[in-house]
Amino acid sequence: MSDDILVDIQNLHFNYDGRPVLQGINMKIPRGKVVAIMGGSGCGKTTLLRCIGGQLRPTAGSVRLEQNLVSEMSHAELYGLRRKMGMLFQFGALFTDMTVLDNVAFPLREHTDLSDEMIRDLVLMKLEAVGLRGAHALMPGELSGGMARRVALARAVALDPMLVMYDEPFAGLDPIALGVIGQLIRKLNDALGATSIMVTHDVHESLMIVDYIYFVSQGTIVAEGTPDEIRASKDPFVHQFVNAEVDGPVHFDYPAPPVVHDFLGRGLHV
């Protein structure tokens, strides 16, 4: 594994209750890049992210992070590795009983011996980076969705991690907040020299900020490429996804028996 590769995923399989969610994923994520993992809802994107973070153990295959085999690490080793990771959850997952400042200070207080004054200064710098220094005294309940996401972003990068993972960072945001979060992800990644993995289904915002994109469908990678390659792609899956078309290889309807079976046959129960 080259030193340039931070995350190396080989033939990753994951089953949930016997149902295959990931089926042979191969992926290499270079250092310093912002990589997007895209796909429809329920295709296994978040499961993939959790396997990278060591929250889920793969059924087969391997996830290597900085040469370390994540799936075989002990609890203590995993916690050691996670100190070098940050994660932005879909709805922020801010601690509701703490102020914005305390939320961002949380990882610093838990993992460093810095003085309160030093932590306060560091937190205000992180909050300044996401444009919320003035909101440090607010409680999470007083923030809008976009502000909460930015606070969570500041918390995710509080320890200057080498890897930042984003789980649907754009979900439920208005266009302005969405653009702001997108730019912040790119700028913070470059400023910190970190590597970012972003699970999303927001194609247009992602194409503007990421270096590489993987498309996942039914637990496998069906397409990949740089934003320019994706835009130019003739692949039916990519074409359907990028252009938000109803018809294509991805079915909108959940699998069901024929209509006749439910409305006229014995499948009808009233």
Binding site: G53, F89, A93
Partner: protein
């Protein structure tokens, strides 16, 4: 054939599921004890929970204790009057409270007031992914969230039970001495001579400590194991109150049978 065995299969599944959950709860309890270090090394974490579980329960405990004492005073006086021994009202009130009513009623109130709140808080933290966020930040949620709440409850419970008993004695004194006219000296002296520190007060403290462990572990476990939905958290809170009440009453019988057999 499988259809005809369906109820048996469901029953078997429910029994196995319940046993599995009890095993999981036992392992969870061991994990809480194992990761209790930070609760004592970082005392403010536990002090905060003592405030939420203990201090904020003071009102319900003091008021309930007073009313229980008032009722005990009235009922006790009426019964003792039949035998001409109303001076024994003090000892009757004190023994009833220190041996039984103090630890048991305080624990039932604690389960309703603090236990349900602990379950709701941990359950909602799970629902809003706060526990997962901690875990991904390499902070063990059992050490950081669960253990301080558990110890906060364990430490608060005997103190609340003692306060409940003290308020009950005050209520009994108010009714017996102030309103009915039982001799003040007889009330206190009979109580002093009739209440044994080892058998009555200390055993009551042990009971309340064990009830504190039971209620606290049930509350934190139900919150941690709740289904992360609104309905799931609501069910977990209900289970905390019901299971705690049953555990307190069952433990009370077991402890009483060991502690007081042949001593009175």
């Amino acid at each position: 054939m499988s259809e005809s065995f369906s109820p048996i299969r469901k029953l078997g599944h429910a029994v196995v599921d319940r046993i599995w959950r009890m095993g999981f709860a036992a392992r969870f309890f061991v994990a809480v004890l194992r990761y209790s270090g930070p609760s004592f090394r970082r005392l403010p974490l536990t002090l905060r929970e003592i405030y939420f579980s203990g201090v904020l329960s003071l009102l319900i405990i003091t008021v309930s204790g007073l009313f229980v004492g008032l009722v005990l005073g009235l009922q006790g006086y009426e019964t003792l009057q039949r035998y001409g021994s109303t001076e024994a009202l003090g000892v009757l009130v004190a023994l009833s409270l220190t041996r039984e009513l103090g630890p048991v009623v305080a624990a039932l109130l604690f389960a309703s007031r603090a236990g349900s709140s602990i379950t709701a808080e941990i359950g909602l933290m799970k629902t809003t992914e706060q526990l997962k966020a901690m875990d991904i930040m390499a902070v063990n949620p059992i050490a950081r969230v669960v253990a301080p709440r558990f110890w906060g409850g364990v430490i608060s419970m005997p103190l609340l039970a003692a306060l409940f008993s003290a308020m009950g004695v005050l209520g009994g004194w108010l009714i017996g001495v102030v309103f009915i006219g039982v001799d003040d000296g007889a009330f206190w002296s009979q109580m002093q001579s009739g209440v044994d520190f080892r058998y009555d007060i200390w055993n009551g403290v042990i009971k309340s400590f064990i009830f504190g462990i039971a209620v606290s572990v049930i509350a934190v476990f139900e919150g941690y194991d709740s289904v992360p939905t609104a309905e799931g958290v609501s069910r977990a809170i209900t289970r905390t109150v019901v299971t705690s009440a049953l555990a307190i009453l069952a433990l009370d019988f077991v402890l009483t049978s060991f502690m007081f057999r042949g001593t009175s």
